[in-house]
Every structure is written in C-alpha cells, then in structure tokens.
Amino acid sequence: MAKRKGTYTVVFDEPISVRASAAVGSKKESEGPIGHAFDVINEDDYFGEKTWEKAESRMQQTAIQTALDKAKYQPSDINCVFAGDLMNQCVGSTYGLRSFGIPFVGLFGACSTMAESLMAASVFLDSGAAGRAVACTSSHFCTAERQFRLPLEYGGQRTPTAQWTATAAGAAVLEKGDTPPFIHAATIGTIEDLGITDPNNMGAAMAPAAAATIKRFFDDTGTKPNDYDLVITGDLGKVGGTILRDLLRRDGYDLEHCQTDCGLMLYDLEKQDVHAGASGCGCSASVMCGHILPLMHAGQLHDILFIATGALMNTTVVQQGESIASIAHLVYLSSKKKGGLVS
C-alpha cells in the first residue's frame, strides 16, 4: 500500500509501471525540436472534424487508442481512465472517450492535469481499485484561444510573456507490471496565489506553486535536485522557469543545471514565434508521453521529477479582478523498479 513520507509526499510500495504511452499533435508541434516524438500528427489542426472542440476530442481518442495499441490492450482491458482538458466541463475528454466504454474519472487541474491524472491513476492501481488504468490529457490552441482569449482571426499583438497553447494530447497506460519507467512517488500540490493578475503571464502566476511543491518533495524525501537526471516542470515557459529557479535558490535548492520545462521543449521559441514558450495540458502530456517516458523506457534517462503546473482560473473571475490561483503536482519516475531514490 502507498504510504506517506513527510507531510506532503505519497510513496508507492510497489512502483507503478508505465506500460506504454503515446502523443498526438498538429503541424506546428511536428515542426518543433521534438516533432519526431509524436506518434500521430495531423496537418490541418481539425483532425478530420468540423469544429475545434471535436478536433480536441478526436485527439484524446487517438492518443488513447494509440497508447492501447502500443500496450497491446483493448479498451475492455482497462479498468479506469483518468482524463481532463481545458475546455468548460472538460468536454474534450468526455466526448473523446465516450465511445470507449471505459469507466471514466474526469479531472480538472488546468495544465497540471497530466501529473494529476498519473498520480490519481497510480493511487487507484496501488490500492487495487484498478488493475490497469489510462491517464490522458489534451489541449488545442484554437479551443483555448476562443474560450480564454480572442477569436483567432482578431488582429492583436501578444505580449513577450504570453505562451502558446499546444495542440496536442498525451496518454499513458499504467499497471502493476515490470515495464519501465515506474512511478515511485507523488506530491500533491496546494493552491498557491501570490497575486498575479495578468493572464498573459501564466508562467509567473504558476511559478510559486511549482516552487512550493518541489521544495516539499525535497524536504519530505531528503533528496536534492542533483540526485535527479532531470527536474522537468509542466509549462512555466521562459519567464516562469527563471522565477522558479530564483524562488528555490532562496530556499536553498539549486535547480540551475538540472531543470528544464516542457514549455521550452515543444517549440523553437524564436523560429516558431511562441514568445515565452508553450502551454496547455497537451504540452506537458505530449512532451512526457511522446519524448521523456520513451527515453526512460530505453534507459537513457533514469530519475525524473515531473512537475505539471496549472492556473486554476476562468475568464469570469479574472474579469472580476481575482488574481490567478495555481497548483503544481509532482510525480517521481524512475527507470528502475527497485532501488529508486525514494522509498
């Protein structure tokens, strides 16, 4: 059974295996530095559908189907799917998954949903409540823009701190098994808010949440940043990443040489004109499921801390003057089943 370590961290007695994972993206993602990592690419952003919302649902469906194919499982082999997205009422997940017939737990953690779904699925698997589970999230540039910002064809300028919502989805099939990598531990985030009100500076809004969760994990486990091959944050982008390292340096943790960010990996910031980097649940989901988890499976990376960050606001509360509350969940993954850094 899972046990508590320190105040905030959960350690799994038998680490949870990531049996297979898959990433789906659009043309822009395929042209980025890790474009080769995508299992499925759609050239026109519509994924064969008539609306952006349907396109996002199709992405989740394709991501899960591809991950299941790679794991050689049928939907009926899966006991539970944990999924979410950025659209109101998480319709990307519900409509994308309705044809599978897999018991569904909908999650909302904004851009932190990939870590949240991995964590929730691991707890279900560890407790025996599920034998096999899928964790999946997505985001679509066009659904996010029309919901949170302005119409696509509106002529406006983006600020240097703005991030580009990824059109991507990622899915992972989890079980108690022997296929690397393994989820060893997780730290559930708390809601943090240091008063940022600019929705065009999400990195700054979310950095305190990431700093709080990472610090708690190190405090709870007694490990240090340099013990890990990579500390990979969700989508803090350029601005949030700088602030995160600054905040943790004040707390005595130096991330200078081991931290990177999914938001900086998905696109070429200059050539693809994405300002401070990528964002959206699909960003960390696709970077992890398409790039990092396969590298761990191949034994090229060993110990990873994945911290997905999410801004828990909507346009109504921001227009009413509320500041942007955010959260970060941490998952510790290792290529080794036994002998991980945390036990």
Binding site: R146, P151, L152, E153, V239, L247, S323
Partner: protein, 147 residues
C-alpha cells in the same frame, strides 16, 4: 515561501521581458499611416471618377471595411496586425476586423446564437461608449451654443 504579493510582483517585473515600445510605436505609425494613405488614395480615385468629396468619403470607408473583412477571412489581417499593433487597431479597418473575426469564429455555434450573438463581443463596447461619448459631446455643443 516567505514572500508577500508585493515582493513577488517586484520579482516578476524583473524577470518578465517588456514589450519593445519604441519598435511598436514606429511600426504602428508606419502601418497605420500606410492604411490612412491607402484610404486617401482610394478617396482621390473616387473623386477623380467624379464623386463629390462627401460621397467619396463614405464610399472610401465602405471600401476599407470591405478590404479589412476580406483580409480577415483570408487570415491575412491578423498577420499584418501582429506587426502593426495599434496601427491596424485604430483605423476603421481594425473595427471591421473586430466584428468579422468573432463572426467567423463563432459560426460553429449556429447563425443566431453563434455568429450573430457573438459578432459584437469585441466591437460592442466601442459602439456603446462611442454612442455615449457622442451624446455628451452633443450636449456640450448644445450648452455652449445657448450662450
């Protein structure tokens, strides 16, 4: 984390790059100026075709609105606006883009509740406060006219 929102706001300011204001101003001046020069050229062409100054002014506005909507439909206007900023926002072409873009975006929710209802989400406030300002302006002129 022992940090007040004020201290964090200061740290965020230091870490966040600012918009390149001088470049933005120059681009807005150049592209906004080009749009106005285009309008002037169109108006002169209409006048040389025999229109009066008053009629040619109205027809020029209609022409610019048409061109803006056409370029919005082809997704060209947002690309110009990316460089032009306020230069593409302030002229009548910006207003046309602000009406056409939500109409295009929300047509997937239907012609009534989507296209028509959302058409003025951006331009609506401009119309409301523009009308209010014109009433105030009219009242001022009227009151000064009394004495």
């Amino acid at each position: 984390m022992n940090m007040t929102p004020e201290e964090y706001n200061e740290l965020t300011k230091q870490s966040s790059p600012r918009s390149p204001f001088i470049k933005d101003f120059l681009m807005a001046f150049a592209i906004g100026g080009l749009i106005c020069a285009l309008g002037q050229a169109i108006m002169m062409a209409y006048q040389s075709a025999g229109m009066t100054e008053e009629v040619s002014g109205s027809v020029t506005s209609v022409t610019l609105v048409f061109l803006s909507i056409l370029l919005t439909g082809f997704n060209v206007y947002p690309k110009i606006a990316k460089f032009g900023g306020a230069g593409t926002l302030v002229p009548i072409t910006g207003f046309a883009n602000a009406v056409a873009s939500p109409a295009l975006e929300f047509k997937s929710e239907g012609l009534v509740l989507g296209l028509a209802a959302k058409m003025f989400v951006i331009a609506g406030p401009v119309i409301v406060y523009g009308t209010c300002a014109s009433i105030v302006y009219g009242l001022i002129i009227y009151l000064f006219g009394l004495y």
